[in-house]
């Protein structure tokens, strides 16, 4: 098979395109992770929230720099803490959500819970990229864009849990509230402990 034919027919290439399409679909529709039941490479999915939280703490650092001359080294350190802590906290929250769903009679694999919460950070990432642009024009953006991003993260979590638990109306809002609270406390802990 020559190179030109492989451009069209090569199964490896088709598989790669299909898997990229699938990843993009899941990033835009993370609640389907819970309902379709397909296991993903959750450790790779967690890169997305790690990046989102890094962007967020970068904006916090930039806001502080503008307001009180926060040193650039500390901005980098704060962003790095966001990157690592974002990865770990979203991982733990995914495990907690899966366990709670199991307690309430919906037995889902731990990996699915982690992937769902991790991929739910797509909207947060968009929000924070917009916030960063806003920040470059000299406005404080971290709290407003961080909050919108946090709330947007709960949307697929809420939809996913609701899809799984039809008939139990209040489980989805209560679990979404709990996950939101965990993220809010995490946000404050990083700011309090980390510099």
């Amino acid at each position: 098979m020559n190179g030109e034919n492989c451009e069209i027919l090569c199964p490896d290439k088709i598989n790669r395109i299909e898997s990229i399409k699938h990843i993009i679909f899941l990033m835009l529709n993370p609640s389907s992770v819970l309902t379709d039941g397909q296991v993903h490479k959750w450790y790779l999915d967690l890169i997305l929230p790690a990046f989102a939280w890094m962007l967020f703490f970068l904006q916090v650092g930039l806001d502080r720099h503008r307001q009180s001359g926060y040193p650039p080294g500390k901005i980098v350190l704060l962003s790095f803490i966001g990157l690592i802590a974002g990865y770990v906290v979203v991982f733990l929250t995914g495990i907690l959500m899966s366990m709670l769903l199991t307690v309430f009679g919906k037995n889902i694999r731990l990996q699915l819970g982690i992937s769902c919460i991790a991929l739910s950070h797509t909207y947060k990432t968009f929000s924070l990229i917009l916030g960063l642009l806003y920040n470059f024009f000299g406005y404080s953006s971290s709290v407003a864009f961080g909050t919108v991003g946090l709330l947007a993260t709960l949307l697929p979590v809420y939809s996913g849990i609701r899809g799984l638990t039809r008939g139990t109306t209040f489980l989805a809002p209560v679990l979404a509230a709990l996950i939101g609270l965990i993220f809010l406390v995490f946000w404050q802990l990083v700011l309090k402990i980390g510099l």
Partner: protein, 153 residues
Amino acid sequence: MSKFKLILIGIMFLLFSVFIGIQVSSAGTHSFFAGFIITLLYSLVVFLIMTVLYIIGAGKLISKNKLNPDNYQSPYDIWLISLPFCVLLVVSFLWLEWQIADVYYCTTLAISGMLLGNALGRGSGKWHIIKSLPFFSGTIFSILFGIIMDWMV
């Protein structure tokens, strides 16, 4: 059950109105009651319009066989997304002292519109204005409230 959900959604909007009232009064431009009443009335109008748009849209789509009646979701269940948002608003307002009740409120309207649209099948199959109306209305009401808040604060 539906009545209980409706009462719960009402309490959420009442809480949004209280916190927006406090935010407006602490800015010193208008009184607490101005912010409270405007937000409460606005919420009532928005809730009615978006819910009616959703119910009419679902009815039309079902009659045209474009929505499976088994997949119909109660609008009250969808509006319950305001519960986690309201919890976060209360925590961040009282604990962190963030006066951004309007950010929470506007995001709630926009996201509820998105969920109502999704429940009608927005984003799947052929595009239809009926499927997207709740989403558009949520976005427009959200922006409109941002303008009202800008005037109030």
